[in-house]
């Protein structure tokens, strides 16, 4: 089964993944922060029958799962696979998801809004992801009384989502922008987008993985938001590629092969070190310096704490560092 971190063939070693999220709510029911258990059930039942009982081809592939039926380690492993939010994994009671087998589609019920449609793909596939999210949105809008104001658009729990309810984002691997990240991040913010490190706060993100997403949901169409995100992402790719053309080949080979050598030989690997070593290997794969049997992003996701424990059972952080190193040696 292929998914965003484990594509059949990676599209790009810079644009790692694409995410579309639409926030929707049902008229006449309070937002989740004020919902009673009965109201959670009402939302779950309404959305479940709207999607799972409809005849649209896309709905055939989707399965309703109560969050109560998912054990804690798997819930947080889903966070590590970017399928659900951390907050949703913690406050899971009465909640449910409607999810596709390859996990590219996941509808969270009872997160900050009643309904959050998420579509997640590898590489840069904004239109494809948006079209799928949109077709699920259409099913919902046709069958449910979705809260919508003709003047301002979709109503959401948080004012920052009011309007389109769309958050489109792209995860980029930008190891060579590095020192210029602060400048670049100012440009991004001035254009109504945000950039943040996927791992670690501040400008120096661990693993150099960054997520750029739109901020504006009001007074702008979905298509414009996506078009603008594509433009800003293109700028990031150009900046990164320009920096890569200036790399000293020997310095690069040394940096990449050292990290590769450590990954292939270490007996203890913390998540932090893994992130930084994997980042070097992704860069190396992108620059043709090293070949990796496994797409490094898959290695990164599969060795996150809960992903490890899902496979090998609950264990201490120290034991995880050992098992992480074992798994990395085996797979690399």
């Amino acid at each position: 089964m292929s998914c965003w971190f484990n594509p059949y063939k990676p599209q790009s070693t810079i644009a790692i993944s694409t995410r579309i999220r639409l926030a929707r709510n049902i008229m006449g029911i309070p937002f989740p922060s004020r919902m009673s258990p009965e109201q959670f059930k009402t939302v779950n039942d309404l959305v479940r029958s709207a999607i799972c009982d409809c005849e649209e081809p896309i709905a055939k592939n989707l399965k309703y799962i109560s969050m109560n039926d998912i054990p804690q380690i798997e819930r947080f492993a889903m966070v590590e696979r970017h399928i659900i939010s951390k907050n949703f994994a913690s406050n899971y009671q009465n909640r449910a998801i409607i999810i596709s087998e390859d996990e590219s589609i996941c509808v969270m019920l009872g997160e900050e809004d009643h309904i959050r449609i998420q579509v997640l793909f590898d590489g840069m596939q904004l239109e494809r992801a948006y079209n799928i999210a949109n077709s699920i949105d259409k099913i919902l809008c046709n069958r449910l009384n979705i809260a919508f104001d003709s003047r301002i658009g979709f109503l959401t729990a948080c004012p920052t989502n009011v309007g389109t309810g769309l958050r489109a984002s792209v995860m980029l691997h930008l190891p060579m922008i590095g020192d210029n990240m602060k400048n670049f991040s100012n440009i991004i913010n001035q254009n109504g987008f945000t950039i943040r490190g996927m791992y670690g706060e501040g400008t120096k993100a661990l693993a150099s993985l960054y997520q750029i997403s739109n901020q504006k949901t009001l007074g702008m169409s979905e298509n414009d938001a996506i078009k603008n995100l594509k433009i800003i992402t293109q700028k990031a790719l150009e900046k990164e590629n320009t920096a890569r053309r200036g790399i000293n080949k020997l310095w690069l080979e040394d940096k990449v092969m050292r990290s590769y050598g450590v990954l292939k030989n270490a007996r203890l690997l913390t998540s932090e070190e893994l992130l930084s070593r994997i980042s070097d290997v992704i860069l190396g794969v992108g620059m043709g310096v090293v070949e990796s049997k496994i797409w490094p992003i898959e290695l990164l996701v599969n060795t996150q704490p809960n992903m490890l424990m899902k496979k090998l059972g609950e264990m201490s952080p120290k034991s995880r560092d050992i098992e992480r190193a074992n798994m990395v040696r085996d797979l690399l």
Copy 2:
């Protein structure tokens, strides 16, 4: 050809090598610091004929070489192989050596004293080395008028060598004594011995290679000096072995295999980094954690700056870091 850094089979991964040096001078000729070119020639000729024209089996194996005939890179490569002193390699004019094919015996003519007999073996072979130095000394004493005072012993240029003129030393790899080195070094000094790092000054020697040698040459027989050095060396070995028994196996494997992985993959290696990585590998070989195709000490000596340039031609430090990494990858 086997030599101290390239033995057929390493005797020990802690006791790396043994060195015996005897300082001798010829009566009636000033010490080298005050010698004229003619007097250098006189010393060279006297010692050359004393050794090379004699019928002793040991002398058959020895060859006289004028230092003028040895190019600069090879002179300093000899320093890196511990065959001659750095001072002798710099102030080489008018000087000569008498050396065995395997370089285990080297007699320097015109160093600080007229004659310095050096015998160098792998592992801990103090008696064997001393016996060989002694047999050469006997040849000299029988054929030349060696400066000797019946009350105090052999006369030497520096008062610290007067008496036996013997410096016996053992090179030890002590990575686990580490933090206790200062304490241990005090004990050694109190017993009339010195310990110093082979690479880098101070208590934290690069590569954890230390040389313990006798200080006392006056009022003590050669046999006692060697016996005491053996006792103090035994103490160091015990201390190191005790510390090794306390090592966490996983920590050790991680440390050793990381260094091994870096050596097998790096594209740039400074001498300093090589020393510290090789030290981990020697420890790993000693503890049975890693197998090395090449005895790491051989790798260490062969990748020293002048040893590299002797093989590959003169080059900049940066180029040496590249060639060092290439050689290490090839040999490991």
